[in-house]
């Protein structure tokens, strides 16, 4: 009887503990806790203006993290995403001329093609040449950096005024009044993120979406099951490139400049967001939307550090420690369970 009573008392705890050990649950819990802390610390957190600002500051990382998640789920990893983002901003600002609105269209087309090119090269290395993804994207990251430096040795460049629609619709002439008032509550950054989600939703409902998971979870079985693994991994890389392209649109809309080195730190942060979101680095498991949660967690942590009056210089240090903690925690728990 004693044991039975004990069982009744212990069981909920056990269930809770098991649930929390699931990566998805723990990342969602972490998200709500951090969300709460930030909301308490920041007085005007729920005002429309403040929400828009929050979304804007998190948008590039969210887009990059989603792309990273797709590649990681397909069994790869992309160390070149930050460099590709920088390259695209450089391409956009080099093609565009301030006084000639039509150059914006050319820039969009060219940058989109360049983005596809970066995805195809990565996909070629990972999917077809079967080079370890870590090292092939490490190599391409330097190739992108090199090209970006050719185009723009120092940060700068110009952009057509209408490119600001990707950042703030109100400041652009010729945008209908309806859209402008909508922009007060729904910033373009949010539309880009929703667009990315819709894109992934459509892909994940197709055969390709299931192939991406299959290839990531066991490439040998996927191959012998008749899946074209090379093509699947290539598609994952191209999807990633499209999301990076969206992030580049936002960045240029916001800053009107290109910078060959701005994206570098975002690479690790995007991987960190994926890990913190609870997606397995070994591939094949987790949801791409969890990467958004991961990116938000990292963003809120940055906010809290800011409010805690920690100097800017400590930001890199803290984010590094968070990444280690986020991946070491679950691994330590697994190890303990195995040893028992």
């Amino acid at each position: 009887m004693d044991a039975a009573r004990k069982g009744i008392v212990v069981l909920p705890f056990e269930v809770l503990k098991r649930a929390l050990l699931q990566p998805e649950a723990s990342s969602l819990l972490m998200f709500f806790v951090l969300f709460g802390i930030t909301a308490i610390l920041q007085e005007n957190f729920f005002e429309a203006k403040s929400i828009v600002r929050t979304i804007n500051s998190f948008a590039p990382l969210i887009l990059l993290a989603m792309g990273q998640a797709i590649v990681i789920i397909s069994g790869g990893i992309d160390l070149s995403s930050g460099a590709a983002l920088s390259l695209l901003t450089c391409v956009l600002t080099t093609v565009m001329k301030k006084d000639d609105p039509i150059t914006g269209v050319y820039a969009l087309i060219l940058a989109f093609l360049v983005a596809l090119g970066t995805g195809v090269v990565n996909g070629l290395g990972i999917g077809y040449l079967r080079i370890p993804p870590v090292i092939v994207t490490f190599a391409t990251s330097y190739a992108w950096l090199g090209i970006a430096l050719f185009l723009r040795p120092t940060p700068g460049g110009e952009s057509v005024p209408w490119f600001r629609v990707f950042y703030n619709m109100r400041v652009v002439e010729g945008v209908p009044e309806v859209l402008k008032s909508l922009g007060n509550y729904v910033p373009p950054a949010l539309l880009l993120i929703v667009g990315a989600c819709v894109l992934w939703y459509i892909v994940s409902r197709t055969r390709t979406g299931r192939y991406i998971y299959a290839v990531g979870s066991n490439i040998e079985s996927a191959y012998v099951s008749g899946i074209n693994t090379g093509k699947t991994q290539m598609l994952a890389c191209v999807l990633n490139a499209v999301l990076i392209f969206l992030a580049a649109l936002f960045f240029v809309g916001q800053n009107q400049t290109g910078d060959a080195r701005m994206g570098g730190p975002l690479t690790l942060r995007s991987i960190a967001a994926v890990v913190v979101g609870g997606i397995a680095l070994s591939g094949g498991r987790g949801s791409v939307y969890l990467a958004i949660v991961g990116a938000l967690i990292l963003g809120f942590v940055g906010r809290i550090i800011f409010f805690a009056n920690v100097p800017n210089a400590y930001q890199t240090l803290v984010s590094g420690i968070i990444v280690i903690a986020a991946i070491a925690g679950p691994a330590y728990a697994t190890l303990r369970r195995e040893l028992r």
């Binding site: 090292i135 050719f150 210089a313 280690i324 991946i327």
Partner: protein, 332 residues
């Protein structure tokens, strides 16, 4: 690459006849490419093919080769090992020890001690996280790089980095004896020692065995986790000591002094013919790989392409070498 060279230069196959040790074939190929690069450079850029220029290349390549040793130790042990934190460890050591030494030889001992402790700490952390907690080395060492850079940023925030290296370090790393750079007197013994350890001792056998097939190594009674853990410790300590030499060469410490060596160190290992899956390769090849990359950098700089050309060139070379060496098409 070998087949390509054999087809293009008929006597190349004769050069690599049966008398030539197998493990040095890739090294010989890269040596050949370096010579080609120099010949081409000598034609295009006047003054590229002088003794001073070559010795300068060797001096700069020595640092890449030393970082390449850290990288090779980790990579050879297999398991997707890779240490992206080497350059940052070196930076932190240099920044910390510069203010300790401040141009005095008397404090070199303390600086060495600090470097050792720091290297051990970083290596220990990397090793435990990757080997015992089974986390991907890439992410761990990348995050570790962030942490180290973060410490440097926090340490130097709002103030100038003070201090100079001790004269001994300057002599060792920056000065020349005649036309001969002193750093080679460091690199050559290190290289001989490394090659002897890799190829002639039990430790080397264990290291290559673990990298070649961890299951077999485990069944032979080797503690695979411990070996991989120790490779990260060795890499951390070495990187930290290289930080002292780097400080000696530069004369001052600054925020990004080591981080520029991370990419070349990996590229040198790949170009030098060390398989990324582990269990093979020779340090001799890595040294030649470093020389090749440095010569390429010099050539691109001489052609006025600067940083952009350097990184683009490195990226393309690395990609090309990877698709020749590391590609895995036939198993499909």
């Amino acid at each position: 690459m070998e087949t390509f060279l054999k087809k293009t230069f008929p006597w190349y196959g004769w050069l690599l006849g049966s008398w030539f040790p197998v493990q040095y074939r890739k090294a010989f190929t890269i040596l050949f490419l370096t010579v080609l690069l120099y010949a081409g450079g000598g034609v295009v850029v006047p003054g590229f093919l002088t003794l001073e220029q070559i010795l300068l290349t060797l001096k700069l390549a020595a640092f890449i080769a030393l970082f390449g040793l850290c990288q090779m130790i980790v990579i050879v042990a297999g398991g997707g090992g890779l240490d992206l934190s080497v350059g940052y460890t070196a930076t932190l050591t240099a920044v910390l020890t510069a203010s300790i030494m401040d141009g005095r030889n008397a404090y070199l001992g303390i600086a060495l001690l600090v470097a050792l402790v720091l290297g051990l700490l970083v290596g220990f952390a990397n090793g435990v996280l990757t080997s015992y907690l089974k986390l991907p080395p890439l992410v761990v060492t990348l995050a570790m790089a962030d942490i180290l850079q973060g410490i440097v940023n926090a340490y130097v925030a709002g103030k100038a980095i003070t201090g100079r290296p001790s004269p001994v370090l300057v002599t060792l790393a920056a000065k020349l004896t005649g036309v001969f750079p002193n750093i080679l007197f460091v690199l050559i013994p290190v290289a001989v020692l490394a090659i002897l350890v890799f190829e002639r001792t039990k430790w080397g056998q264990v290291l290559f065995g673990v990298g070649a097939n961890e299951r077999t190594a485990y069944l032979c009674g080797i503690d695979v986790k411990k070996v991989r853990f120790l490779t990260f410790v060795a890499s951390g300590v070495l990187a930290s000591l290289i930080g002292l030499l780097l400080l000696g060469n530069m004369g001052i410490a600054f925020k990004d002094m080591g981080s520029n060596y991370v990419m070349p160190s990996i590229a040198a290992v790949v170009v030098g013919g060390v398989p990324l899956a582990g269990g093979g390769g020779s340090y001799f090849g890595v040294i030649l790989g470093s020389i090749f990359l440095q010569a390429l950098t010099n050539l691109l700089t001489a052609l006025g392409l600067g940083d952009a050309g350097k990184w683009l060139g490195f990226g393309i070379i690395l990609f090309a070498m990877l698709s020749v060496y590391a590609g895995n098409r036939r198993s499909r």
